[in-house]
Amino acid sequence: MSSVSFQQVTKIFGTTTVLHGIDLTIQDGHFMSFLGPSGCGKTTCLRIVAGLEKNSGGEVKIDDDIVSNPERNIFVPPEKRRVGMVFQSYAVWPHMNVFDNVAYPLKIQKMSKADIKIRVEEILNLVELTGLLKRIPSELSGGQQQRVALARGLVMRPRVLLLDEPLSNLDAKLREKMREDIRNIQQKFKMTCIYVTHDQIEAFTMSDKIAILNQGHVIQMGSPQEIRNNPGNKFVADFISTHT
């Protein structure tokens, strides 16, 4: 697993600046949450790590690889970054069955069929989808589709796993179970995760570190304990109290 670091990362859409010089580091094996109200820039940060957006300034590194630095004209496209991502809308491909969905990243790496089969079955066991290989996505529940998306993100053993509000479309009970499962899997592999959410229960129960964002700034960063005991300013105090 790997670390991710942001140095003075900015993002400008047309005339509006959505990220004002973000500085932060996610340590190897840590579970980091980006927490904040909608429109605070947390999803943009995540998509910049994935390479789905280009930052307008600053530098993003995964381990020691610079994956994006517009000043030096460096940009590694998403398919070369070896990151996994789980989308809010699941993004499970409706024209492929569960096996093909999960196997897709391995097929692109031209892994042998036998190896693919072993790896996919192993990962499907891990996310508790054993035996659903041949199902097509429309036959699966929302929770099951989310597990397929998770398996697809994990199967190529990414350097970082990115999760974009993965639980917001699930009902409350399922959400609780998924929270535990994701945290357990992350602990088991000591995997570096970035988790975007506006739900502070998710952030506080799952994370090693939380970065609270508002209007394109990191307002406060620390462990759940630190933030709860010592909110950095009024915004953080209001935000965590109103959402409990």
Partner: protein, 532 residues
């Protein structure tokens, strides 16, 4: 209730009443089988060529950040608004073996537009827009995270297109291909201008020759041929409905804000060059052909002295039919547009807000005549309103009223769909508030619905006006002395009489300019919702 149902019935009973001898006469002749074969082969090849043109274009317009791609998109969509038979004329000016501009430029005849190849080329260069607009719509609706997930999984942009995008837009692609096939099978102008001179007949041109024979037997043979064409169209319509239903299920509305776009970076200059060459060949070259043809005093001579405005003088001042044709076209198109907008709104109202169990029927009633090839529809009208049948009580045969009626029947689908879309977006509570305020249903309709639907109605009017204005396929079968329209006059000028040429090009130029201006007017008036 709706004349079409009656007409269809009449057509069917009439042809079968004509006896099996007519059918066997029609089917046993080798030329008929040849016409069927040609129709199918041309349709398939046009559809294939349309895909080859459209797929890369759609990808560039919808999935890359190429500068000016919106302008390109409009330019490449423009052939949609221009009647293909005008394109056929343009290509004849360009690549006619003796006087074509491209041939005189080189000094020998190296391209010959007449025949199968030219026919497929001309049809495809106009009809590809059906595929392009269809798949662009589907690509815009596609949830962008499906493609992003594949990028993250390690797939290159090209691989994403083939593994993810293409399979997901397949229903829309197939539906577009089918529309192209049907439009090419139903088209009359292009095969008449480009195929007929070389003895290459399609079903539509065969029907036309039989109908123009004037004998009752000719009409019967024409009708039996038109039934084949109709069957082809109806099968196509049902497959299309099925595909559309499927594409709605598979293509989920996207939430993800902006798709990450592919960047050509330094290679973008080459993309620009390719696009400019392609649009020049597809669009500007034919337009230029028409302009030069319209200005040339003698066709086929390329020099500055040969250019002049005398063709314009001839067409607009000397040919007596021109004034009449312009007047008729405006009158017919305006009447049809007004009536179709009114009726379309009424049908849409019943289909969207109605309570009756027949809600669905309105959609069907308006889409069947639209899917029916114009040639078939016109024949049905001739049979139903001709002498002896209805004709005795309703003397519509050989009248402008009949032509206006057929435009309404054919194009009411456009106004129906525009109105239905508009109505769906207006919540019932707006009307309910008016009812509660004491206005009756009629006053509510006038004071609430009509003002709210203003843009929609305007768009619907133009959507019917534009194709009616330059219609040829149906009009050519229903026209007569004094009933000429711009389309038929243009066709006749091109086919007969006009010795030194140029007259047809003048009219074509007039139609193209007018249609393109109208299109942009619609786009501005509807704030980009309609128009190209």
């Amino acid at each position: 209730m709706w004349p079409f149902a009656v007409l269809l019935g009449k057509l069917l009973t009439y042809t079968s009443g004509g006896g099996t001898s007519v059918f066997s006469l029609a089917f046993n002749s080798a030329s008929t089988l040849k016409a069927i074969m040609n129709t199918v082969v041309v349709g398939i090849l046009v559809a294939v060529l349309s895909c080859i043109i459209s797929l890369p274009l759609a990808w560039i317009f919808a999935r890359t950040d190429l500068a000016g791609r919106h302008i390109y998109k409009t330019l490449f969509s423009l052939p949609y608004a221009i009647p293909p038979f005008i394109g056929a004329m343009a290509w004849i000016s360009l690549a006619n073996p003796s006087t074509g501009i491209l041939n005189t430029l080189v000094g020998k005849s190296w391209i010959d537009i007449y025949g199968m190849g030219g026919l497929i080329w001309v049809e495809a260069t106009f009809l590809y827009t059906f595929v392009l607009l269809n798949i662009l719509g589907a690509m815009e609706r596609l949830d962008s995270s499906l493609e992003e997930a594949a990028r993250i999984s390690g797939a290159s942009p090209a691989r994403v297109f083939f593994d993810i995008t293409l399979p997901l837009i397949r229903p829309a692609l197939l539906s577009g291909v089918l529309l192209v096939f049907l439009a090419s099978a139903a088209s009359f102008g292009v095969p008449a201008l480009i195929g007929t001179p070389r003895g290459l007949y399609l079903l539509t041109t065969r029907i036309y020759t039989f109908q123009k024979m004037g004998s009752i037997n000719g009409i019967f043979i024409a009708s039996s041929l038109s039934i084949i064409l109709l069957l082809l169209a109806l099968i196509g319509l049902f497959i299309n409905q099925y595909l559309l239903k499927k594409s709605k299920v598979e293509v989920v509305g996207g939430k993800s804000p902006r798709p990450s776009l592919f960047s050509f970076e330094k290679k973008s200059i080459w993309v620009h060059v390719c696009l400019c060459i392609l649009i020049s060949i597809l669009f500007f070259l034919p337009i230029l052909g028409i302009i030069i043809g319209a200005l040339a005093k003698v066709q086929g001579v390329l020099s500055l002295d040969n250019l002049g405005l005398q063709n314009f003088v001839k067409v607009f001042l000397e040919i007596p039919e021109t004034a009449n044709a312009v007047k008729n076209s405006f009158l017919l198109a305006a009447t049809a547009a007004t009536a179709a907008t009114g009726l379309g709104l009424l049908f849409a109202f019943m289909a969207v807000k109605g309570q009756s169990p027949f809600k669905k029927i309105w959609e069907f009633v308006t889409s069947v005549p639209f899917a029916t090839p114009g040639t078939v529809l016109a024949l049905a009208f001739i049979l139903a309103f001709g002498r002896g049948l209805f004709g005795t009580y309703l003397p519509l045969y050989n009248s402008l009223t009949l032509i206006a009626l057929i435009y309404i029947v054919k194009y009411i689908n456009f106004s129906f769909r525009a109105s239905a879309d508009g109505l769906r977006q207006i919540h019932d509570c707006l009307a309910e508030a008016s009812l509660v305020s004491g206005a009756g249903p009629f006053k509510t309709f006038i004071h609430i619905w009509i003002p709210l639907l203003k843009t929609t109605l305007l768009a619907s009017w133009f959507l019917v006006f534009m194709p009616s204005f330059s219609e040829l396929t149906m009009t050519i079968l229903l026209t007569g002395p004094g009933l000429e329209t711009l389309g038929t006059l243009l066709f006749q000028l091109h086919e007969y009489g006009d010795a030194s040429g140029g007259g047809a090009q003048v009219l074509a130029l007039f139609i193209v300019a007018f249609v393109i201006c109208l299109n942009f007017l619609v786009k501005i008036l509807s704030k980009g919702k309609y128009g190209l």
